[in-house]
Structure formats: C-alpha cells, structure tokens
Amino acid sequence: MERTQLIEELRRIVGPRGVVDDPHALMTYDADGCVMDTGDPQVVVLPTSTAQVSGVVQLAARYGIPVVPRGAGTGLSGGATAMFGGIVISTARMDKVLEVDTRNGRVLCQPGVINYELSQQLKPYGYQFAPDPSSQKACTVGGNIANNSGGPHCLKYGITASHVYGVEMVLADGSVIWSGDGSPAAPGYDLTGVITGSEGTIGLMTAAWLKITRLPEAVRVVLALFPDIAGASSAVSQVIASGLLPAALEIMDRLAIKAVNDMYKLGLPESAGAALLIEVDGVEDGLDELLHDVTGICLRNGAIEVRPARTLAEQNQVWAARKNAFGAMGRLSPTYYLVDTVVPRTRLPYTMEQVGRISREFDLPIANVFHAGDGNLHPIILFDRRNKSQNQRALEAATSVMHVSIEQGGVISGEHGIGVEKQDYMTLLFSTDDLAAMAGLHQSFDPHDLFNPGKVFPKGRGCGELAALRKAGVAWAELKSS
C-alpha cells in the first residue's frame, strides 16, 4: 500500500490531528530509552478511543503492516521501537483515569495515564498504585503492564503483575476483549496474567482495571552509609535472610552518590562508598522495632552512619535523588548503558564484586543504582558513544555482566524486558522447547506476528517457526519414545 494512501486512511480513522507523518516529527519516535537500537516507523498515530485503535489495527492487518504499541517511550530494551517500520500506535492521547472504585479496590484507566499521575489522583482517596518505577513521572501504566515493570516498593508490594485485574485489549483481527475486572476466579485461563509482561507483542491494551493499594499509616526512611558496596550488599542479603520485610531496599554506589549528591543537596560525605536507602511502612505500631532491627544489621555490616529522613520533605528529597539517579548520570558521562539483571539475593555481594572486576577489565566506570532487596542489579556502564572502542567495550562489559549473573543463577531481565536489547540472550536461559511453548502462547493471540514483530524471541527464530516446531509434536514424541 502506498504510504500516502495509508496516511489518508489513518486520518479517516483517528482524525487529522491524530496522525504524525512529518519526517522530522517521526524522528522522535525512532527509539525508546534504549538508544542502542533504532528503527523508523512509517507513521505514528495517536488514537483517542478503543474503536479508533481497532480501526487502525484492522487496516494494518489487512495490509500486513506491523503495529508497534508505544506508551511514553521510556522503555530500556527497545520494546517500543519500530524495528521493521510500520505504524506506531501511541497511547499519549488515551490518558484518562475513568473510574476510581475504592469499594472494590480498583481503578479503571486508559493506558496512556502516567504512573505518577495515577498515584497523585488516588491520594485524596487514601490510595496509591503500588508499582513505582523510577521513571514514574514519565512512564505510562500501559507500558508498566506491557513490561511487567517493577520499582523500589515492589520488594514489599510485588511487581505490576500482582496489581492488574484485567485489561481491555485490541487483538490482531481488530476484535476487543476484556481479560478481567477484579472478580477473582473467573473460569478459563488467566489471560490477564499472560498479557502482563508480553511487551506489546500480542495486542494493544486500551484500558485496564488496576488494583489500588491503601496508603500506609506510617512510613520511615533512613539512609545507611557504608564505606563500600560490599558492606551494603551483604547487609541487604542479611536483612532478607533474617526474614525482615522492609518496603524498599535500594543501593546507590560511590559514583551514583557523586552524581546526585549536589543536585539533591544530600550532603553525603565523600567517604561514603555506598548508600542503602531503607524504607519501612505499615501501621505505626512496631515500625520502630523493625527499623531498629534493619539498621542493626547495617551497623554489624560496617555501616559508618545511619541517617533518618525525619520529615516528609527529607523523605521526598532522598527518594527524588534515588529515582532520578539514572538521569543524573549525564553529569558523569555523555552516554550510559544500563544493564538489568537479577541474581538470587545471597549472590549479591559476589556479583557486585564481579561488576567491579568487569569495570576494571574493560576500563570503563560502572555506577550502580539498584533494587537491592530483590537482587535486581542495574550496573550503569559509563562511556562515550562517539568513541568506537568505548562503544565496543561497553557492549562487551554488558555481556560479561550477563554471563556472571546467569552463572550465579540469575536471569537476563528483572524489569526492563527483553525487547530487542536482550533477545539474543534468551537462548542462554531457555531451550528451544521452552521458547516454543512461549511462541505457542504468542501464536494463539497473534498468529501473523502483527504486533511488535521481531521482539523478545531470539533473532532469526521467528515465533511462527518455533510454534511450528512444536506442532510437529507427534514426530518428536515418536522419536523420544523409540
């Protein structure tokens, strides 16, 4: 189909203001937060309703044009990037909170609602949306669901998957389903569960019933300072092992502290090699006891100082520093490569040691800001993209981190998703049979790879091919049993 004709038809569906086809304007859509991979869409549409999305999807299906869902584009694995061109459907104009239903502990919203805005709107009701990615001031709940995002408070409250009751989704034939509404035991399969984390590859979400969480009665925040990251990591391992359950346990290392210290007026001493941000919450009663136990473990692991954030303003300041730490990396280096991986929590100290070794080996500084309580590392490799050798070394260092993590029983992504960035690591964790089962699930939703093609599954291993392999199960069974 001619591009001009396509654009004309799209205009008919979403209105003239809902189509972006100007080449300059399109350039802002050539990547998400992961600048390693880029791809240009032919056109971007910004629908305002489910019906419009369905119309666009039907058109795309008719002509076999890829559809790439996009929220705020803060993803860090290339998930919202149009690797094979096609139509990017942005949810930016579907940004309404439609119904707050506290009696059922849920909220109905459109996918383009910004995570932080949602919690702000819930506050007067005494509620919050618990998943709180550090990017929450920009990212959308649609992106959160698609990536099954995490955040500092997921340590206690669980990842996004535990906070979605149901989604409205436009499927590859343009039909619309609702996967659930908050009724806990509908018959059938857990479609909500499999849609969450499917990275925009099986359909486009146009609304969601999300679980809302009552705000805690009391919150305490302290910052424990350590001479080095080893002490902070072993403190975290021990807090977890001793069965204490803080709301958040986040580590920032020396480089990260350097990046945020002045900007957020934290006034942390130069001697601090690592800061462990500890938050506990719940009913007032018992909180001090919990905090006392946690800080006790910190002190036994060599903490040089424990600083409580006494006022709400102080708490917000500490959290702002933590949540904006990636952004602050710009003060240290022109570009950075953020690696996302998770290890079992006892392996944290050893893995962090290895990250230090990798930094020395590839001669690139690596900052660390991460969800320590979950074992979710984020080594941030600092480099200059314009320098070819640094570029190469950054990639190699990232791969090394991944190998160390897997060797320690870790996985290739804790929260940022596979997208394009990690697709070739998938075979390090999964066999062909494992991937084929995932492909089978994918095919039952999107048999012609309309949505976000070329993602998640290893390059050159198309979903269709994997699923076909699996369908040949009879031959396989005979082979094995003979």
Partner: protein, 452 residues
Amino acid sequence: MKPLLSQITSIVGESYVIESPADYPAYAVQGRTPALVVAPGSAEELAHVVATAYAAGVAVVPRGGGTMQPWGHPPVGDFLVVQTTRLNRVRTYEPDDLTISVEAGMTMEYLDETLAPNGQMLPLDVPIPARSTIGGILATAMDGPRRLGYGTSRDLLIGVQVVEASGRTSKAGGMVVKNVSGFDMMKLYTGSLGSLAIIVSANFKLIPRARAAATIACAFGSQAAAFALARAIHESQLVPVAVEYLFGPHPQPLSLSGRGESTPPSPARGEGGWGGEGSLLVVRAEGLPAAVERHVRDVSAMAERAGASGVTVMRDAAHESVWEAINNLPQSALVDGDELLLRLSCLPASLERALADAESLAARHGLGMRVAARALSGLAYLRVRGDDAGAQRQFHADLLGRWTQLALLAGPPALKAEVPIWGTEIPNLSLVRRIKQEFDPENRLNPGRYVV
C-alpha cells in the same frame, strides 16, 4: 492396551503400574475407571510416559493427592492416570534466598515442614495439606484466606517446569523473585486444571514466618453486621492478612483436623460467641508483636461498634487450629453424597449481596449451608446440604440465575452432568479455545474436564 502396558512398564517398572485399576476404586475419576494408573519416579519418566500415551492415542489425567479430582467433568474416552506423588523431592532450597524449587508431587504439608525450621512459609492455606500436592494446588489455583495478605499461588510462583501433551518438557521463569525474561507461562498453567500441560516442578518465592500472630473472631447476629465490620476494616489502614466471613455451624477445629489431641485448643463453646452457629467474621493479624496487638485492639473495638455479639481473641495453638479448620472448609475430597460444593466469584463489594441471596435461597429451599468467604476478595465457598435433590437443583439454578460465576466444584454426578458447572459466563471463550488448541491440539490432557 497390551503394547502400551508393556511400554509403560518398561519406563517406570512393574511396581509403579496398576494394571487393573478397577480393583482400586480410589483411582476412578468421578466414576470413570482409567486404563492404567502409572506413578513415574522422575520428571523424565513422566515425560516419557506422556509421550508414549500420546503416540498410542490415549489421554492422560494427571493426579496428585486426588483431593480435587471431583472438580470439573469426568474425563472422556480412554485415559491413563499419571500419579505425581513420587515426584516429591526438593530440587533447590537456599533458605537465605527465600526461594525454593520442588517437584510437583510434594504435599503442602511436607513443604511446610521443610520450610518451618528456617522460619519460612508458603502461605497458600490449602485444604487437606497432608494430601494436597503442589501440582494440584497450582492446577486448580486453589486459594486460601491469607490471599488478602500474601496473594495467591499466582503471586508466589516464580518458575515452573511442565510436560506438555506430546511429552515435550519445557520451563519458564527462574529462581529469582523478580523476572521478566520471556513470557509468564506460570500464569498460563496456574488454574488451567491440567488442560494445557502437566506441572512437574515449581519454584516459589517464600515468605518469612511472622514473629507474632492472633485471631480476632467476631460473632454477629446478622450477615449485614458482619459485612459492616469487613467494610470498616477495608476502609481503615489496618493490614490484616485474612478477613474471612463464615456462616453456619462454627468450624470445630478438632473434628476437622482429625488429630485427636486431648485438650481442645479452641475456645470453649459459647465463649465470646464462638462455638455456636451463624455469621462470624474472623480476622487474622500477623507481623511484629506490636502491630499484631494493635490489630487485636482496633478490630475488637470496631467489632463492638458494628454490634458484634461476641469477640474471641485466639493465639498460638487455638489460632493455628481454627485456621486449619477454616482452610479445610472448601475441601472437595470428602464431599458427602447429599452435598454440593460451590465456588462463587464476584467483585468484592458485591459479595455481601451474593451471600445474602445464597442464604435466603438456602433457607427457602430448606437446605443447610456453610459458607467460607474471603470477605474482602469477592470469593466464597458454599457447602450446601440436603436430602432433596430437587431442592438442590433449584437452589443451584436460582443462584446461578443471579450470579454467573458460580462453579459447581463437587456434587452429585447427575446434577453435574446437567448444569453448566463452570458458570454461565466463560469470558473470551474463542481465545481460550485457541490456546487449548495450540497447547493440546489432540485434546489429550484432562479431556472434557475443563471449560475447553
């Protein structure tokens, strides 16, 4: 069956095949006798058995402890029962990571005993833990009262290995508590009633055992008053781990647990309203001692305000055994011939109306009813008893007319054969069918038993 029998015997060994299941009525699945009962000793053997059955064109019914075999329809066609109970090992347990990987045939009780010395737990609160296996718990997605505080298996399952219909083995997830590497197949298999694949091992995120715990049992003269308390708790900033509404004779811990301890740990009959009949709201608090005491104080006071006729606080053994009794109420293993076990699912705020309907219908049809409901989650298990089959049928039809997500989990075969046992509303059926078709195109796993 001869060639199949010899093939299967050569895989698992003679001692682990029952050639004439007709002699062992316990292995019949809702009155249907399997061709063979096979108990593989490892995931590999199980895969081999399933592949062999697949090649022979015979269906497979997975079985753990058998406690939930009454669920769903009887299987159609010839089938093997593949018993998982020999798959009962711990695969990996690193207590300090708070994760464990176990084989699917392990019982919940055994898992509990493995975790307890390390002060850890998997708080799923399933009925009959001594027989319920991990595989069965996942396949049925059976929940428990503490879903309010800790979630269900859906939230705690972090990895899985399955044997698919053709005998192919695949896995997903891992041994870390946060993981988005690949699709979340764990969610697909959980609650699929063995219709997509057979779970052979499962990895869980564990929860530290609380330092303190207490039960606040509040008796009420009416259902409305009990739910007024539930609403007040929902609106407060308290964080109880369970809020259970009970109706009918109050559970008797000893008779249900069958342990025969000499001194009853439960409160004496009549004390604080416990031990009689009627509406109870039972609240469970866990955590730090001070936080638990705060819940005891506040919930007791709120109960008084809601007009409770009695409030009983229980700790230690009494607390434990009361919850054991409550957890067992929805069990389907020991359903009597004149009893229906129903599961009603609705939005949390609608539960009160649904249960009011159920209570008045039971009264109208002259049926006895016990209810165990997750009061803040919108889920209720009803045990409805009476010797008049017509009255039971009418009760079911009337309730189903008002509440579409009503599953008949166990009951007289004649009734089950006749009514929509999964309720009148199965959402997204065509997509559900496509998934079944993709995973089990020949319909070999639990054929006919679930919604597709």
